[in-house]
Symmetry: C2
Subunit: 247 residues, 2 copies
């Protein structure tokens, strides 16, 4: 009996995966707005009503794809964080980890442009993201925070100035997402998070066509500077004339 249920569950998992794979293929071809349960079913040789046993609505299928995409890029970032500069606590090691995480995000985006567009592009009309997407959506940001936290603990940070105007926001942000960090870096971290995806989006969405050519080097250099903007110290790249001083 339990073997039967095991087989059933295995089949269910397989079919669910096949549905999501086909949906991802349609995402690439037609875009999220035109994702259609019927077309997915047709392509799989199923009948549309059968899909509703796996996903109760088109929006639920969309949500599953979105959560998968966030988890996928989040895992890429986490792996890069774990792998890069495995046992260095010098300032340069932390900056190298920051750059490695950013490059992992970019590499994932280049490898999965349509899933990237699904989560970081225009919202899908008529779809509102449920609570279930919030946690996966914050994974990359949490990795960035972790890099800065480690650096703060092991190598120190160059604290950016904090204006009085933003102090309440900075203290709230720091308390919520990085209790171990000084409030002064909270705003720059969130800004760097958005700016990192600005760089990736412009490349993925074609704004760099006919503008930037040496894209990998351009990205690497830009995110290294971004790392310095959150207070990371050190020189990860080749031959810099010096660090940046804020105070």
């Amino acid at each position: 009996m339990s073997a039967i249920r095991g087989a059933r569950e295995r089949a269910r998992i397989e079919v669910t995966a096949a549905i999501k794979d086909e949906a991802r293929r349609q995402l690439a071809a037609e875009g999220a707005a035109k994702l259609s349960l019927r077309a997915v079913a047709r392509e799989l040789g199923m009948v549309s009503s059968a899909l509703y046993r796996y996903f109760p609505s088109r929006d639920e299928l969309l949500t599953a794809l979105i959560v998968d995409a966030y988890d996928s890029v989040g895992e890429a970032a986490e792996t890069a964080h774990r792998t890069a500069a495995p046992d260095g606590s010098a300032p340069a090691a932390h900056l190298a980890r920051w750059v490695a995480v950013a490059c992992a995000v970019r590499d994932w985006a280049l490898a999965h442009p349509h899933e990237y567009a699904l989560i970081y592009g225009s919202p899908v009309p008529g779809y509102t993201a449920p609570q279930a997407t919030i946690a996966p959506a914050s994974r990359v940001g949490l990795v960035l925070v972790a890099v800065v936290e480690d650096a703060h603990r092991e190598a120190g940070l160059a604290l950016p100035p904090l204006t009085e105007e933003l102090r309440p926001e900075a203290e709230r942000l720091a308390a919520e997402l990085a209790p171990g960090l000084p409030p002064a870096v909270a705003v720059p971290i969130v800004a760097a998070w958005a700016q990192l995806f600005g760089l990736v989006s412009f490349e993925i969405f074609g704004q760099f066509d006919r503008v930037v050519e040496a894209r990998a080097a351009f990205f690497r250099q830009s995110v290294e500077e971004l790392g310095r903007s959150v207070g990371l110290l050190g020189t990860a790249g080749p031959a810099r004339q010096g660090g940046r001083a804020w105070r």
Copy 2:
């Protein structure tokens, strides 16, 4: 006779504008992927084939909307550039202009979120932008370059270091889009351009929901820092402890 032609042309302009207005309404409701010539015609009380007198295809209508959007945000940026700190040549005036241009872009995006998504969000599936969109698409970037050029001439720049790896790219970029500027700032300017839209996109596309609350102040502070990353000097905001030194 010329009066007749004048009347005809006026009518043509009016109908063209009505078509684009209705198309923009549908953009907001259904998204660019589902923009339908027939629905536009129906809503206007016309027959679909009549639209082809004004736009030879659905893609041409999309192109017109895209060009309009780029021109609209570009004009907002240019106006802010012309208006902000009208006769100051001190470092702070240039930084103030930079911030004003960025805020104008953000304000435009908040006022026209769907047009923003059309040009800076996910590409429309099956649509490839023609050459005609290139010039309007670069207007905002050219304003940012102009701000830095003025600052370079009138107040000087804090030149960021230029790695050997990126020197060819920087020299090519500088030659193409800012012949008056030192190559060292070319890469940071392009990066700041992308990062500026990263900040705006995250706000418009909802990534800041439940994260950033004081959004105007957050944006202002972040783009001021972005201005410093391209070498602008001075302190535009209130009470900063000091400038940033690169060398």
